[in-house]
Amino acid sequence: MIRVRFFARVREQLDCELLELPWEPRYGTLDGLQAALEQRGEPWGDVLRQPNLIRAVNQAVVSTNAILQAGDEVAFYPPVTGG
C-alpha cells in the first residue's frame, strides 16, 4: 500500500485528504505516482500540474524525482504559510 496526503488549497481543490492505494509497480517513483494520479481526470490533472506544488516522501520534502516503496507516505501541498 502507498499512502498519499493532500493539504490546504490542494486538499480542497481535490476534495481529498488521504488516498490509500494498493501497491502497483507504476508507483515505484514519485513522478510515476504523480502521473498515475493526474490520469484520474479533472480536477486531478490541473491541480497536480500547478506550479510550485511541493512534494514530500515520508515527511521530507523532495525537490526532484524519488524511488518509492510499498508503505511509503507521499504528500502534495502548496508552499507553506505558517508562522
Binding site: R5, F7, A56, V80, G82, G83
Partner: protein, 158 residues
C-alpha cells in the same frame, strides 16, 4: 541524527490552546543564560488591505514537529544556544490571538537574537503550516511571500 543530550533542551509543541509566554520563557531560563530573545506572531486585523475576522491554521501532523526540530537542531549547530522552544497553534484563531512563539536562551545576546530570527525565517518557509483567512468578503488561502523566501536565503551557507 540522534543527539539526546541536546534534544532535551529543545521543545516543540503544536497545539490548539493559547500559550502563556511567561511560563514558556521561565522554562527556557537557566543559570548560565544571560539572554533570552522571544518572537510572538499574532493574527493581524488587516492583511494586504483586507479586513480579517479569523485565521484558520492547517498543518501536517508528524512532519511539522520533525521539521521544527530539524530547524532547532540546525540553529544549535550554528550558534551557541542553551535552550530553545517553538510553540505553534493550529485550528481557528481570532484577530489579536497569538499564533506562534519562538524563544531562544543563550549566554550572550548576539546568539539569541540571531538564532531566534533564523528559526522564524525557516519556520515560515519550511514547516508545513498553511493559513486560510476568513473575512467579510469570504475566505482565501494565503499565498507564500517572496520576501519570506529571500529572508530564508540570507542564512544559506556558501
Amino acid at each position: 541524527m540522534v543527539r539526546p543530550l541536546v534534544r532535551d533542551r529543545f521543545a516543540v509543541s503544536i497545539q490548539t490552546e493559547p500559550f502563556v509566554t511567561e511560563a514558556l520563557q521561565k522554562a527556557l531560563h537557566e543559570r548560565e543564560a544571560g539572554a533570552i530573545v522571544t518572537f510572538t506572531g499574532y493574527v493581524r486585523a488587516c492583511n494586504d488591505g483586507a479586513a480579517i475576522t479569523a485565521l484558520e491554521l492547517e498543518h501536517y501532523p508528524g512532519m511539522t514537529e520533525n521539521s521544527l526540530r530539524a530547524i532547532l537542531d540546525e540553529a544549535a549547530q550554528r550558534w551557541s544556544v542553551l535552550a530553545a522552544t517553538v510553540v505553534h497553534r493550529v485550528g481557528l484563531l481570532a484577530v489579536g490571538e497569538p499564533v506562534v512563539w519562538v524563544g531562544v536562551s543563550s549566554a550572550h545576546r548576539g546568539d539569541a537574537f540571531t538564532a531566534c530570527e533564523y528559526v522564524m525565517d525557516y519556520l515560515k518557509t519550511e514547516a508545513p503550516f498553511w493559513k486560510k483567512e476568513h473575512g467579510d468578503t469570504g475566505s482565501r488561502w494565503l499565498e507564500a511571500r517572496a520576501s519570506d523566501s529571500e529572508r530564508a536565503r540570507r542564512w544559506q551557507l556558501p
